[in-house]
């Protein structure tokens, strides 16, 4: 029995217009996510301090 390669996505790529993300936009996204990470971390500090104070017993 001969071995068989199953298809990959590149087998279905055709010629035509390509959509390209410019480098500046990618840098903006990375910067946004870094800023976002910083803002989330400050909220987390508040969440942990609140979580240590409230007793759940009702």
């Amino acid at each position: 029995m001969a071995m068989k390669d199953y298809p990959t996505i590149s087998d279905f790529i055709t010629k035509g217009d390509v959509v390209k993300l410019d480098e500046k936009t990618e840098r903006d996204i990375i910067q946004y996510m870094e800023d976002y990470a910083f803002s989330v971390e400050s909220n987390e500090t508040e969440a942990y301090s609140q979580a240590s104070m409230i007793v759940l017993n009702c």
Partner: protein, 502 residues
């Protein structure tokens, strides 16, 4: 007291208090006063009246329940007053059940089985239970919940009860906080081999180094203690807190909806500092949503406007298992204590959902807020489409998602094989975009898979596992050193992921 198994039509137990008294008497609780017995009967009746009135019940006595026995040997047996070691087990059957038992017709029991309820010999008598949503009074098809199959038996026949585990607190060994931990582990432990169901003494021993006072009788736990217990039981929990602004509250509710759509039940804190109310419950599902509601929830993503499915779900309402109430209670986030207020407890009027814990798989490093933020950035900046489309984000295992790929009948076999050839981590964040019309027909035109072991600090191409949008395949191109979308022969629309709750 020994007892033979009994049959009751549930209607008798719902309407005849003397029948309930005779059931409770099988628990052999001599020390209780008539007032205490009356409270037990009221608790049991409240639970049973929340079920359909055409069901059938088989009651078995001298039942050894592992959870109650654990509390019994750790606590109740050490008291001066006598407590029984035994429980009762009620098994519920659908309307077609024949009460004349014929073991040649096991199907009568198996096919009609709708779950069980353990009755403990305590005033807070509602013990461990797993009940099918089909057994509830409210129309069963109005909720979607996380479900697990739990081993059970009735009259010697092995059965599977399917639903979400529930129990009431006993107020001494288990308050709402311990019950929440127990419930989550009962779900995960019966569903995935990685976890195990837990018992009250295990929770107590985990929290021993994190408790400044004795743990029994229990006075409740802080939210951090719940998170510590979940960590020790194998999870990577994340704590979320609501904010003060309208946008922060929307974001908090959106995250809850995102996790629930992912099939991750949540430990939720209901609080009102003024009234000194702190209560833990488990969010297990959502009310069914009319898909057309989605167009009422526009969100700005860069310069585009998308309709958020997660916001739509958050707005319609959730299903909770609350240890003070029967299983599967519905409430909205705007009025989470509705079921208390409806019962006359007006003190609960200003209770809010202040926090929730998502008990994540310990290697899901990217949490919901990062996945949504990154998805929004990609929709806003990387792909040309997005404006006017419906957006939905959820977490799933790659195993489940790959199974979904095999069922995408819009794609020819070779396309499915090609998608299945893409390496994936154990968990992926799925973001789907579709036009409202495609959305109503369970179709999508953009599929984005993010690496759940990824990081908010990593570059885009490291986090993207797969991005297919409007027939274009997006990947990092070494030559142009950028993410590039190339046209393909793949269809522009295909089947949406059905989600992880049923």
């Amino acid at each position: 007291m020994n007892m033979s198994p009994k049959y009751y039509p549930i209607k008798t137990l719902q309407t005849d208090v003397s029948a309930l008294f005779s059931v409770i008497r099988y628990l052999d609780m001599n020390a209780l006063t008539s007032a205490e017995l009356g409270n037990m009967v009221a608790n049991l009746q409240t639970f049973l009246c929340d079920l359909r009135s055409d069901l059938h019940v088989v009651i078995e006595g001298i039942y050894v329940d592992s959870v109650y026995r654990d509390s019994y040997y750790d606590y109740y047996s050490t008291k001066h007053s006598a407590y029984s070691r035994y429980c009762l087990r009620l098994s519920f059957f659908d309307a077609g059940f024949k009460k004349e038992i014929d073991f040649a017709d096991e199907d009568n029991i198996i096919r009609n089985y709708l779950g069980f309820l353990v009755i403990r010999p305590l005033i807070k008598c509602i013990g461990r239970n797993v009940i099918s949503p089909n057994a509830k009074c409210a129309p069963k098809d109005e909720i979607r919940i996380c479900k697990v199959k739990v081993d059970a038996s009735c009259l010697g026949i092995k059965l599977k009860a399917e639903g979400f585990p529930h129990a009431s607190q006993d107020n001494e060994t288990m308050t709402c906080a311990q019950t929440t931990i127990w419930t989550l582990l009962e779900y995960y432990g019966n569903k995935y081999t990685y976890y195990h169901p837990t018992l009250p003494t295990e929770i107590e021993s985990i929290l021993e180094p994190f408790s400044y006072e004795r743990q029994l009788p229990s006075k409740g736990l802080t939210y951090n203690q719940i998170s510590v217990a979940l960590r020790n039981l194998g999870f990577g929990p994340k704590i979320y807190q609501t904010g003060g602004t309208r946008e922060e509250i929307r974001h908090f509710h959106q995250l809850m909806a995102c996790y629930i759509e992912s099939g991750v039940p949540l430990a939720v804190a209901l609080t009102d500092n003024k009234e000194k109310i702190g209560h833990a419950i488990v969010c297990i599902g959502t009310k069914k949503v009319d898909k057309h509601e989605v167009v009422k929830h526009p969100v700005k993503v860069g310069t585009k406007t998308v309709f958020s499915w997660n916001d739509t779900m958050a707005d319609v309402g959730f299903v909770f298992n609350d240890d003070n109430l029967p299983c599967y209670q519905e409430a909205t986030l705007a009025n989470p204590a509705k079921n208390y207020i409806d019962r006359g407890l007006t003190r609960w009027s200003n209770v809010k959902v202040s926090q929730f814990i998502a008990p994540l798989y310990h290697k899901v490093y990217m949490e919901a807020d990062t996945a949504i933020a990154l998805s929004e950035q990609i929709v806003g900046s990387v792909i040309p489409v997005g404006d006017g489309l419906v957006m939905r984000t959820l977490l799933t295992s790659s195993r489940t998602f790959r199974e979904h790929i095999t069922k995408m009948v819009s794609l020819p076999n070779d396309h499915r094989l090609a998608l299945l050839g893409i390496p994936m981590p154990k968990f992926v964040w799925v973001t789907e975009l579709s036009t409202p019309d495609e959305f109503y027909q369970d179709k999508v035109s953009t599929l984005l898979l993010l690496d759940a072991t990824g990081s908010k600090m990593a570059n885009l191409s490291r986090n993207i596992i797969l991005l297919l949008s409007d027939g274009h395949w997006y990947s990092y191109d070494d030559k142009s050193m950028a993410i590039v979308g190339k046209p393909t022969t793949l269809p522009k629309a295909f089947e949406a992921f059905p989600g992880n709750i049923k």
